[in-house]
Symmetry: C2
Subunit: 250 residues, 2 copies
C-alpha cells in the first residue's frame, strides 16, 4: 500500500495543491492516471518540434526546458520546468508540437496520456480548474520572460532569472536559500535571457563582486536576497502563487 508521498505521481498533487484545493476523490483519480516513468539524460529530447506527442509530461525530478531555434541556429529557452510541473506539449491543430522540450540536466519524468488526463479533468471540475490555473501561471511566466528579454539589461536579466528559479525551487520544496543546486550552465542562462554565454559570465562576476550571490560548481548562494530582487526588478506576483510569501529580507 502506497502513501501519497511515495507515489510516482505525487509531484502533480503537491504542485496543484499549492494553487488549488483537491478532495480525496480528485487526488485518487490523479494518482490512478496511467503513466510511464522515463529518465532522461542532459540534453535528451522529450519532445521535438513537429513531433505528434500523445502525452503530457510530468517532471518528477531534475529540470526540463522548452526551446525554439532560429533559422540561423540560435537557441532561445522559452521556459524551465521543475518538480511537479506538467508540460503540455502545445500541439497545433495538426497535432504537431511547435517547439522542443529537452532535459536541462538529468531528469526523471512521467508520460501521461493526454486523453486520460482530459478524462479526469472532465470528471472532476476541481482538477480542470487546477490545470487551468497552472496553465495560466505558465503563460504569465512566459510574458514576464518576454519583458525580461525585451526591456531589461544583462544584469537585470540574470538577476531576474536567479530570483525566479530561487523562488520556484523553494516553492517546490527542492532547496532553500541561501544555497541550493543551480541547474543551468552559463551558456544556457544566456539562451534563456537572450545573451551570450561569455556575457553571462562577466555579468555573474559582477553580481559576485557586488556581494549579491556566489555561483560555482552547479550551486548558487544568495548572499543578499533583497538586493538581488531589486537588481532583477523582480516581483513574484507574476508567479501566481496563492500564498503571498512575505519578502524574506526587509
Amino acid at each position: 500500500m502506497q502513501t501519497t508521498d511515495s507515489h510516482v505521481l505525487a509531484p502533480i498533487i503537491n504542485k496543484m495543491e499549492r494553487r488549488s484545493q483537491l478532495g480525496l476523490a480528485e487526488r485518487q483519480a490523479l494518482l490512478n492516471l496511467p503513466c510511464k516513468v522515463v529518465s532522461h539524460d542532459k540534453g535528451s529530447y522529450l519532445i521535438r518540434e513537429h513531433d505528434k506527442p500523445a502525452s503530457c509530461i510530468l517532471v518528477i525530478s531534475g529540470f526540463v526546458y522548452r526551446s525554439k531555434i532560429t533559422g540561423d541556429g540560435l537557441r532561445q529557452l522559452l521556459a524551465v520546468h521543475l518538480y511537479g510541473d506538467l508540460i503540455d506539449p502545445h500541439a497545433n491543430p495538426r497535432g504537431e508540437a511547435d517547439h522542443n522540450v529537452q532535459a536541462l540536466m538529468r531528469a526523471e519524468v512521467a508520460y501521461i496520456p493526454q486523453q486520460a488526463l482530459r478524462d479526469v479533468a472532465e470528471s472532476y471540475p476541481a482538477v480542470a480548474l487546477a490545470l487551468c490555473r497552472d496553465a495560466m501561471a505558465e503563460c504569465s511566466i512566459s510574458r514576464e520572460w518576454l519583458l525580461n528579454v525585451g526591456r531589461r539589461n544583462a544584469r537585470q536579466r540574470i538577476a531576474h532569472l536567479l530570483c525566479e528559479l530561487t523562488v520556484r525551487q523553494e516553492e517546490a520544496g527542492l532547496g532553500k536559500k541561501p544555497s541550493y543546486q543551480w541547474p543551468m550552465t552559463q551558456e544556457q542562462m544566456g539562451e534563456a535571457t537572450g545573451l551570450t554565454g561569455v556575457h553571462v559570465n562577466r555579468t555573474l562576476q559582477r553580481l559576485r563582486k557586488e556581494g549579491l550571490i556566489a555561483i560555482a560548481n552547479q550551486s548558487v548562494t544568495i548572499h543578499d536576497w533583497a538586493r538581488l530582487q531589486r537588481a532583477g526588478d523582480f516581483n513574484n506576483a507574476y508567479l501566481h502563487q496563492r500564498t503571498i510569501t512575505a519578502s524574506d529580507n526587509p
Copy 2:
C-alpha cells in the same frame, strides 16, 4: 432579423471557424452571448494590471495590445490583437490581471462576461475545443515573440513583425497584400521587438532601401513578400492556421 454577418459577435465565429468546426447550435449560442460593445480611443486601457476583470474582450475592429512595464518604466508589448481575437484577461488566483490591455489605435470591442462564455463552453464541447485551440495558438505566438526578441537582430525582428501582422491581417480578412493599413507607430514597433523607436526607424529605412517594403502614413506596402519572409526568418507554422497557405511568391 439579423444574419450572422451583421451581428456584433460575428467576428468571434469567423475567427473560430478558421481553426475549428461549429454547428448551427454552437453558432447560435455564441451569438446569443450577452455583451457590451465599447469603443476605445488610442491608448485607452481596456484592462489594467491588478484590475479584477469579469469579462473577456472580443476585438470587433481596430487593434489592441497587451503590455507589461518594467520597474524603470520601459514598456514591452506582449501581443497584438485584431478582428475576431478573444482576449482572456489572464487573471491570477486572486482574480487580478497580470498585465495591461490597451487600444493600439481606435478599437471597437465587446465585453463578454466570463461566466457566460464558460457556460456556453460547458454546454458545447466544440466551443470549448475552439477556445482551447485559439488559446494554444496565442501561446505559440507568444513563444515566437520571445524567440524573436531574444535571438534575432533588429532587421530580422522588424521584418518578422511585419510578416506576422501581414498574415494575421489577411487571415482575418482585413487587408490584402501588397498594401494595407499599418496599425502601429515606430515607437510601438520598438516596444514590440525590444528596440528603440529611433532604431526601428533606421531599420525600416534599410528595408525600404532594399526594396522589401514601403511604409508611410499608416500604410505598408509589401514589395517583395518572399524576401521579406526570408529577412524575418518567418515561417507561419507557429500561427497554427489550419489551412496551409501556399507561399504566395515562388
